[in-house]
């Protein structure tokens, strides 16, 4: 039915099968939209956030998707600026993942604010001292960059490409992509950092507060660094999931190994910096404010030292080492383990920097505040995941996303048999977290 839209030579599953799958995920999207509608209609009382938890579940999701979606900017940087050509095999997919992550982040911000109609005040009445202003600026423009990077890929669709103007436009955009990529890299650097700064500048919150390097707290650089370090894990994970579902090999081993290697070194260097930062915070910053570091990990039901261990060692040092060593890196099972741990690690870091910050008592007579999100919050947090799955499915079906698909799957002559099972993930894989 839609064969005219499917890239030339690509094998895709049947139309009904595909859209059955989309419908299943679409139901989740509808659930999320319902929650979103309720939140807009009735207000944020639909959530379980409160005056202690002004930032909660979906702000964590926001930070997490931006962290793992950082791949787009870093891939762009490496490919267009540092000219690592091998990355052309994954750049399209990285851009799509980035696009999903950033559009999700913006979506979450739009749901999160109490007066959505006034959202533009952040541009119009900008406070240049606020980290959040920086976040909003860079996030919006970086999303524009991602859209620009995504457009040529869309225009490469078989039908769109037939339109002469689109064909030329795509070609021209490719031509000056280096400018966009450079702008994007700069913007992304700043907003990854300013997201870290959001927590780091809160000098009233000794758990997240970090001392300053000029105007930026250390968390600024740690966030940028961690996003650059962990995106390959996520990109590889989503690729792996897509490969599993489609039953095809989509990205060549060489590219995968290169990405893994980049991830390994970045994670390791990041985690060293993070450990130094943590030690400095625990032994200098916190004590200077009257806190023993254990204060932040005791007397409550959830946040214990295990969390610190998990974040730094289990999901930091371990994946770093696994990905640095050639033998483990090129062992597909251990590599999968490492990239999963990596994704968990960076998400956990963002969780800690959002939710634990709010939970920790600061006044001596205050107590730990724990909160459980409402279904509306969960639904609107899952909404981007479902939307991401649909977008990946659609782009995979209709756009030439993976340049290596042909050579990896149909190396010699076309084998018309063995129609691969292409069903978009019905089970909620953590595709866009």
């Amino acid at each position: 039915m839609d064969s005219a839209l499917i890239p030339e030579g690509a094998k895709r599953c049947s139309f009904p099968k595909f859209y059955m799958g989309i419908a299943v995920v679409g139901a989740v999207v509808l659930w999320g939209l319902l929650a979103w509608g309720l939140i807009y209609w009735k207000g944020l009382n639909q959530t379980n956030m409160n005056d202690y938890y002004g930032f909660a579940l979906w702000i964590w999701a926001d930070l997490a998707v931006i962290a793992v979606g950082g791949g787009a900017f870093f891939t762009g940087l490496l490919k267009y600026i540092f000219k690592i050509d091998e990355l052309k095999n994954i750049i399209n997919f990285a851009v799509i993942i980035g696009f999903i992550c950033y559009s999700s982040a913006l979506l979450i911000l739009a749901i999160d604010i109490g007066q959505p109609l006034r959202g533009w005040f952040i541009f119009w009445h900008a406070n240049v001292h606020s980290m959040l202003t920086e976040v909003a600026f860079c996030l919006s423009f970086y999303f524009a960059v991602l859209t620009i990077e995504f457009i040529p890929n869309i225009l490469e669709n078989r039908q769109a490409n037939k339109v002469s103007f689109f064909h030329h436009l795509a070609h021209n955009m490719h031509g000056i992509m280096v400018i966009f990529a450079a702008t994007g890299a700069a913007l992304s650097f700043f907003h990854q950092g300013s997201l870290g700064g959001v927590a780091g500048v809160m000098f009233g919150r000794p758990f997240s507060f970090r001392e300053h390097l000029n105007i930026w707290p250390y968390t600024f650089f740690l966030f940028t660094w961690s996003a650059a370090a962990f995106w390959p894990c996520f990109t590889l994970l989503v690729t792996k999931i897509t490969e599993t579902i489609t039953g095809k090999k989509l990205v060549g081993d060489k590219t995968v190994h290169l990405l893994s290697k980049i991830a390994g070194w970045m994670i390791t260097s990041y985690i060293i910096a993070k450990i130094i930062d943590t030690i400095y915070w625990a032994t200098v910053t916190a004590p200077s404010l009257g806190f023993k570091w254990t204060h932040f990990y005791s007397n409550n039901a959830l946040y214990g030292k295990w969390m610190l261990f998990t974040e730094l060692i289990l999901c930091g040092v371990l994946p770093g080492v696994l990905l640095i060593m050639k033998s483990t890196r090129e062992n597909s099972k251990l590599r999968l383990l490492a990239i999963i741990l990596g994704v968990i690690g960076v998400c956990l870091n963002r969780w800690v920097m959002v939710l634990q910050v709010m939970a920790v008592p600061v006044m001596p007579f205050d107590t730990w505040a724990l909160y459980i999100p409402s279904w509306q919050e969960m639904a609107t947090t899952i909404l981007p995941v479902a939307y991401g799955i649909i977008l990946i499915a659609l782009t995979y079906r209709y756009l030439p996303v993976f340049p290596q698909e042909q050579e990896l799957n149909y190396p010699v002559e076309e084998e018309a048999v063995d129609e691969p099972v292409v069903a978009p993930a019905a089970e909620p894989v953590a595709a866009t977290e």
């Binding site: 007066q115 109609l117 006034r118 533009w120 005040f121 339109v163 103007f165």
Partner: protein, 710 residues
Amino acid sequence: MKVDRRSFLGLGLGAAAGITVSPMMLKIMDDSSILTQTTKTWPWALDHPPFDGEVSYESSVCSLCPGSCGISVRKIDDRPVKIEGLADYPINDGGACLHGIAGLQYLYDPARVKTPLKKNGDKFEEISWDDAIALVAGKLSDIRKSGSPEKLACIADKGQGSVSGLFKRLLKTFGSPNFYTMPSLESYLEVTAAALHGEGKTIGFDLENANFVLSFGAGIIEGWGSPVNCFKANASRKDRHAKLYQIEPRLSNTAANADKWIPIKPGTQADLALGMCAVILKNNLFNSMATGFTGFSKLTAMLQKEYSPSKTSEITGVKAADIEKMAISFAKAKMPLAVFGKGRGDGAQSLKEMAAVHTLNCLVGNINKKGGAFILPKNDYLEFPGESMDNTARKGFSKAKTGRYVNQLVEKVNASSKPVVEALFVYNSNPCYALHNPKSVKEAIGKIPFVVSFSSYLDETAMEADIVLPSHTFVERLEDVPSGAGLAKTVVGLTKPVIEPVFDTKNPGDAVISIAKALEGSIAENFEWESYEECLENVTSGIWDSLSEDGVAVISEGVPSGFVNVNISFIANNPVTIQAQGDYDLTLIPIDNMRLISAGTAASPFAIKTVADTVLKGTDIVVEINPLTAKGLKDKGFATLTTPMGTARVKVNLNEGMMPGVIGMVEGLGHTFDNKFVSNKGVNVNDLIGPVIESGSGLDAAFGIKAKIS
């Protein structure tokens, strides 16, 4: 085809780009933010922002509690918007309590009675004032014609003031002696004064000057007496270097603020006071005048036998050495003052306890001395003209009262199969909530064929009435407000209407006058005023100039002079100490919390909002219990509290400030009328406690009840 698509796409993109850069976008964005600027936008929210207008201030007096504070009402045009304390007012000098400040919420209370109501089956229907008055008068005439006018009874919140005076006058000229007041500190002060100093007197405590206050559980900053006055006296304590010792089972706010907290077993305050008297007598630390007290030697002998420090210690749980030390420092203090009236002083009290505590005052000789206890004449500034009574009235009025206090009235009504009371007036009080075992009160009221409620709100008692005659609230009404409540001075304030009545309500004084007039004959003759206003001016003529000009008349101030007779034989006979009902291991006691109101009126939405989540959580009441006592119970967990009167589901607050073996439950929750902001929250502690009548005094003296919790 190709051209079409291309031009279509081009058109679309062009249009999108055009709209984006056109001023329309700016306009839409600008409008969108204006749309969110005011609450007017939201139809479900406020209709309009508050109107501005000319600012003015009006002085009045708050009559929500016996405190009688001066208030200043800020108005915008004719709209009152804020109540504040009135500066330089002799009682509160600018201070105000949260209930008074929230007073305007009572004006617009969702539970207000907006027009006279008549019970029809289970439902109320609205009727006109004329019909309502005619109905009441008709019913009363029938009762009178049947020859037993004494079967008309009235329960009022207090016995003072001209409106109560009108009720009394109506009953008297109708032919009934059955005028009752709800228990209040004022009534207890009179009872105690009567027992020790003779009838017609009351007691005032000079807290502002005393330098050693020994409070036997009086919640000096929990709403006892005239709350704001007490707050001020307490706050000045620090500057005056005066001491406060607080004796009660729980670390109340007063105890926490005091110099010393002496935990004591519930209900044994009388014994401690007597034990201290014994120490004072033994050590010859009493005032020489004391030997002249009636019953002095008897008391000395009794105390030596029954109240040695060790014995007292055993009863009260206070260390013997502490009792001696405390008694000696009290007796040696320059201006000692012992204060009684547990909690707010308006709950159940035992005369033994009050008399024993006051005996301490008498023994150390601080009666009518600066910083001591003042024996004042009962506030009697009203000059009602003498009543003319017909035969029926005289006959009925000369009969004995059905009971001494409201409790006995309830008991008698419930005990008899024939109607003891044919008609009941309830004025400004809520016995179906505020008395112990309200279920039995409701039962009694249900047995009375005709009940008329003079209330501003459809509260628990008004719900049981046959006719509700809605009253103005204190910001709509004119009324004289005499202070009582243990103040060291006597002040009468004037409550003035600061706003036109919001609903079809009347001043209760006017309602009484209308009823009297409708009854015609000799009754009407006694009410020949055009209106309540005229009546008020008439009966307060002695102080009217001062009232109308200054809004207040100070009747007595400073240390009273003159000899005071002291008779301590009541206490010398060592009446029996009240025991808690039941035989469970623990004792449940009511807790007074300044942010709630224990009497009939419910707290305002604002006041409820300030209540801590360790007192009320959702719709669950939280009880205080010492961790040692709460075996197996978890903090913030649910538990079942059982007393001989009933059970309640409660939440638990493990509290080190509670004496082991005691459970504390706050008073003032568990209202059931129609106001979602204050009602159906928690339980009414009175539901769990039954009255225990003190022999001799006839008072309900139940300080608590035995209980178990699991």
